[in-house]
Point group: C4
Chain length 248, copies 4
């Protein structure tokens, strides 16, 4: 086996858009995708098992075992397009595994006639971001004007290190196979799970997809993060003053 | 080659139950399975060779070489069901190898129309266990009442780290392929080969399978372990008292 | 997937010669091949994607993503033969990956009826080289006289450590498949990107292929390197004199 | 590619015996096999290339490149049987690679109707051996009497660590595929290339195969080793005496 794809249902979707939200930098992409899928009552229709995931089962509160997997979910009639979500707790554990899985997902997307692919991620910049932007990378320059209108920023050549992992590979593989694709990245420090960056990313994505959901929970967690960040900053500044006084 | 499966015989079994007992934490599962298979005169009918086992042969007392393998054994008319045992000294050496082998075993089990799969293991808790319980994880919650009646304990979400290796993967793979499966785990410290935990696990398994064998040898080794553990404890307590005296 | 080969065009080439210039020691081969391909306006006609490349996309100044790849380029009517270039920023990341890719490239070369293969590389000798030679290794001894006439030096048994990576494997694989092939290696220290060694290598290659291009840029960078090297040498010698004076 | 097998010739052999002599402990097996093949003018008829060998070419004194390979050689009418030799400078670099190659070789052996397989190796015992024995391991106990008659010693359960690498795997794989096979191991310290152990191993093999060759060179090197070993011993004993005197 490379991968096993198990379908619970074969949904009939209208011009679907494919949205990847697997774990990554600050879990920015995962949190946004999970939140959107949950609020839209996305329904799991397929599971992907792979020898490239960790060799283990996890247990739920019922002691029922679950082989490591990624899940595919769908939503009908939410916005301009039907939606397919790729969600889960794992990425491939090796470079080769990541390629095998990205190819699997893009092949699945093609078999379901997706018209566009969005991969969601975080862009780690190494320090706390007060007003995170959403940076974009695209399979073709022609996609940029529309994304810019919906709040995506394009910084020439950024991220300069490229995009690694599922978000990068699914974008690249979709491009090779001739499907329009973009990676949307919320700016984040890269040091912790970043709900604020996720909230910003989610709102841009909602704009693009023309869907409307309640983001209150995410907004509240964003605000908590802001308060926490301010407090840290005050303490840091207080310490600096003390030190100046000490030497003054 | 991924794996080579070599059949010596194709037994005709009635509603067989598949029991995995490969090496693992404290060898709790292996010892219980080996003991049960031996006492029931289980007969080896197939060998599985794999590039995921160590690249070597071992020699017996006759200097006859044996390529690293796992063996399949059967027992007819022992209890409610005929039995198939998966036994051996090796697990796959890599994550991918463990997946390939688990898939091989579950495919074999399906081809033999097994009705249920039990994987046996140890649950390492990091300290000496006086009265080890047998914890369970299942492919479906509906299996729990019967297992509980036979002495299996279900602790919500435990083992919290999930179940790694052959016991976990065969359970998970069986579930994916639609076969009822459970992992039974004897509690153990995880620091040594634990015959006592094996004896407890074996008795629960005998209850479930409705088979009866002589467990005297295993019980004697359990008792030796108890005596050894008590002695260690006495010494440890003696030292503590001495130390109190010293400071007293 | 092992590799994906995507053709933009299927050029009709006359007796083509295949030239490999992937990254390697001092990037000597890559710089020479990139320079020649650019000056001859070589046209990209195919891309090779592989799970053996790093799992990532890079972004250009337009924020367009590019999956890690090697590219095939062609030039018609440049010299005695049409030319095919294999260029890129990556080699396979593992030993197995390097074999898979070398086999892919040689199979592609054969499918395009190449008459000869040249792989370009650097030969790291561990100290600064004032007048780098171009060493050769061949698939068959009968190729040597012509290459020697064009400036290639053959030193019996050198490089004594053999030739690793794409340059070595493509040469070896071509030989196994019955195609004349040679590896041309510019001598270099092995400690930095060496434009001077590339310029020497390029001129030998131009002789062999009977093509003529402007090498001014590369010559200028060679001269800069010479000046830099002389300066380093003067400083080193000055220090030595000082030390002698100190002890004198 | 896993492996590429390239035939220069398809020899028509009478009841051939297959002899493996790849590098290993003390190179005991390789030296014996190389020597026998050379003296019998064995002719190379096939080359095995593999992605499991190091990714490189080596160069001969003519600067001709050679992709890492193992070679198959044959000898007709040398003794009771025609002979096939497996010789070379490499074994597979990973556990999986060793399995893939062993399977390739045994499949080749079967396709050429070999009646028996001998794998040659060294048995490292950790100290200098004055009179090395030749230990044996077999695919079936019925092979032992004849081998014992020709000078092979069987020590129950030895080597206790089993036999790793090509010699072990080809033996084990031949057994699985139903071919009589034995591994013959010259005792050796394991610390250096051991021509003496090779000479002893070679003579036992010559007995078994009923072939006669000139072993003068190997005998001379054995004698040199004996003299060297004696000298080392004298020095060591001298030192011991001195030390005793010192403390006396």
């Amino acid at each position: 086996m490379e991968n096993i794809v198990k379908f619970d249902e074969r949904p009939d979707l209208r011009d679907p858009v494919f949205i990847e939200g697997l774990p990554g930098v600050g879990n920015v992409g995962k949190i946004a995708a999970d939140h959107l899928a949950e609020k839209l009552n996305a329904k799991r229709f397929a599971s992907v098992y792979s020898k490239h995931f960790p060799p283990q089962v996890t247990l739920d509160h019922e002691c029922v075992a679950h082989l490591a997997s990624n899940g595919l979910y769908y939503v009908k009639d939410a916005g301009k397009n039907d939606l397919i979500f790729l969600l889960g707790d794992f990425q491939g554990m090796t470079a080769e595994g990541q390629f095998e899985l990205a190819e699997e997902f893009v092949t699945l997307a093609i078999s379901m006639n997706v018209s566009k692919v969005f991969t969601l991620g975080g862009y780690g910049i190494g320090n706390v971001v007060e007003d995170p932007r959403v940076l974009g990378a695209v399979s073709s320059a022609s996609m940029k004007p529309e994304l810019e209108r919906h709040g995506v920023t394009f910084v020439p050549g950024e991220p300069s290190a490229g995009i690694a992992g599922a978000s990068g590979l699914i974008l690249g593989m979709a491009q090779v196979r001739g499907i329009d694709a973009a990676c949307l990245m919320g700016e984040t420090s890269g040091y912790f799970i970043d709900h604020k960056s996720s909230a910003v990313l989610l709102k841009v994505l909602m704009n693009i997809l023309d869907v409307d959901i309640d983001t209150k929970e995410l907004d509240e967690r964003s605000q908590q993060m802001d308060e926490f960040t301010s407090k840290i900053k005050e303490i840091a500044e207080g310490q600096q003053k003390d030190q100046l006084g000490y030497f003054g």
